[in-house]
Amino acid sequence: MGAKPMEPAPAAAEGQAAASESPTVAPTAEIELKLAATAEMLAQVRRSAVVASAGTPVRKHLDTVYYDTADRRLARRRAALRVRRSGKRYIQTLKTEGELVGALAARGEWESPIRGPDPDLSVITDPDARAVLGVILPGDLAPVFATRFARETRLIDVGGGGAPAAQIELALDDGRIETLSRKDPICELELELKSGSPAAVFDLARRLVAEIPLSIAVRSKAVRGYDLADGRDPSAVRAGDLDIGSQAPTASAIDRILRHCVDHWTANHEVVLQGVDPEGVHQMRVGLRRLRSAVSLFKSVLPGEPAGWLRSEARWLAGALGPAREWDVFLSDLLAPVETAHPGRAELSVLRLLAEEEKTRGYAAAQAAARDRRATDFLLRFGAWLADGGARSGTEDARTQSLDRPIAELAANLLDRRHQRVLKMGRGFAGMAVERRHALRIELKKLRYAVDFFAGLFPGKAARSYRRALARLQDHLGHLNDVAVAERMLTALIEQHASGTRDAAGLGLASGLVLGWHTRAVADSEPVTCQDWAGFAAVRPFWTRGRVE
């Protein structure tokens, strides 16, 4: 909401439901992306060759007040009403974003000059706009927040020398968001395509990121303003449902799925930076894992070029989030129950202290990686690739044909393959060695992601019971893995403190206590785990029924 929606780039997925489906990209869609900066970085941007050569910028001071009802009706209806002061003039703008009330699905913008700083709805007569506003009674609207910032814009011509030509508007915004009691700085840059190839916007952004460590920005100014006014922290976002439609050509289905995963990642970016809600790190990592899993799922139809960097960059970023997540799980799922059972044991307190330290280090590393320009560049590279045609780009004839066929055909085959693989690896489940269980767990996770990606293609009971059986089994094997991971982490922790001044023996004892406790619990739950395996192995695949010839 607020700033212009950006398509098809994920970099500025506007609004918070970034992990929900995105509308298909229309050729005329506006391309706009946003990057976070510091004042020093904005100065560097001004000095960079490509920007400096664009000549003198146009400078404006923008003073804007956003209005809504006490129950935030406009925000709920994905609309924003603002009055912007420009010298002595006041401009009122109502912006809406799809999915409206009253049988309308319009994305609209209504702008008109008004006499004073207060909104004047009488100038809005378009029924589409009125339908969004609904009945607004005198006194219903009140200021929610204001944005006050200096904006510097430059038109930059890129291309030539073989690269496609394009004109891009670069805006540098420096100022703040204000409510009655709070303030939040605005320091960001926005790139908007004026003419030419959409990929050019991403290319220019990548050139800047190569020089200056700009980072990903997800929330629009309007979303940030509402969050500030209502005292809301950005909250962790789950993957959400994906419905690609069985008739969708394979190529666009792949684009949708990859974008869905990337949106899942970026939607949690600011939660990770906030560093409060552990769910943010978890969800961001899941998004990246799903992305890797999707790339490997489609390896037969995806060219090696994007597949290679998609996989390696996602692995790097997910890896950087690993310790934060692992210590979170250790503290809450493994250590806490043992503490409850042994109140007042000093050794456990020492372990908690050290684990909390590790967790803090893990969070710092996770935040550094999320802010790292490598992450920014990864996202921009993905955006450029999508804008350039995505899965369909750079295709040879042999692949083109399969990319045009409906996704449902490929989906059934891929699900079949992953399902068969799991069954094969699960033979002799009861007496299986730990390492083989782990390998099976990973394969199950891949199957689970594939099932999630294609779930929308196969509605019905069969798919639901399949997913239930799968989830149950994963739960048990997941705990088994947590214990194995904890053993690795604790071994490293003990080594690290072996010659330290802290109580090394106590640490060893506490670690043994925790591992012993949970190893026993895993052993106790073995019959149930075996039952769950049998339950899964017996469940009927759901895709045979929905399979398209």
Binding site: R73, V101, G102, A103, L104, P127, R130, G134, V135, I136
Partner: protein
């Protein structure tokens, strides 16, 4: 959401002010510049009669005759108000409730009305959209002054069955005067009308809050 925001004005008991509330709600929507339709579910067609009397310059409202069976709102309608028939079979009530985003339930401060209201609420509360809280129910006290004995008793009664009054509409001759001319309180610019309109704010807020 697809389709218009739909308000169903219903109660099994006749004479509780359904048509007054339906026509004034439609008038409020139309005055706010919203594309509005008013569906008359009653064979007597008093809501449609009101529309026939509506003067030329007034904010437009499309009339729909649902006396025999329920139809559909024309495309582009942003707000649909349905004036339900007094005696509805459960099947019809179910169909109308399924259509509605909000049910407005007018009650008069009388023991007869209370009993009828309690029966009606009990009947509809088991219907899926209401059970699953997809449809809101707004009870409106009609011809009711706050802090009177009748009003206090009605509050106690509603509290008993788990509801509260969203608003109380005062008894005013303005309703009869405007109805006779096919108008609503929202078509008038007098100070008296503005004061009486205040009663409607909580209801309009409640209706707009559902989407």
């Amino acid at each position: 959401m697809s389709g218009p925001l739909t308000v169903l004005v219903a109660n099994t008991k006749g004479g509780c002010g359904k048509t007054t509330i339906a026509t004034n709600l439609a008038g409020a929507f139309a005055a706010a510049g919203l594309t509005t339709a008013l569906a008359d579910g009653d064979r007597q067609g008093s809501a449609l009669g009101w529309l026939k009397r509506r003067p030329e310059g007034a904010a437009p409202i499309t009339g729909l005759d649902w006396g025999k069976e329920d139809g559909r709102a024309p495309r582009k309608v942003a707000r649909l108000v349905v004036d339900a028939p007094a005696a509805m079979r459960i099947k019809r009530a179910e169909a109308l409730i399924k259509l509605a985003d909000v049910i407005v339930l007018p009650v008069l401060p009388s023991p007869y009305d209370e009993a009828a209201t309690a029966r009606f609420l009990k009947r509809i509360e088991d219907l899926k959209p209401i059970r699953k809280s997809r449809t809101a129910v707004a009870v409106v006290g009609n011809r009711l002054r706050p802090r009177t004995r009748a009003s206090t008793r009605l509050d106690a009664f509603l509290d008993d069955i788990g509801h509260t009054v969203v608003t109380r509409l005062r008894d005013s001759t303005l309703y009869a005067e405007t109805a006779a001319k096919g108008m609503s309180l929202f078509d008038l610019s007098t100070r008296r009308a503005a004061a009486t309109r205040q009663d409607w704010s909580p209801l309009l807020h409640a209706v707009e809050a559902v989407v």
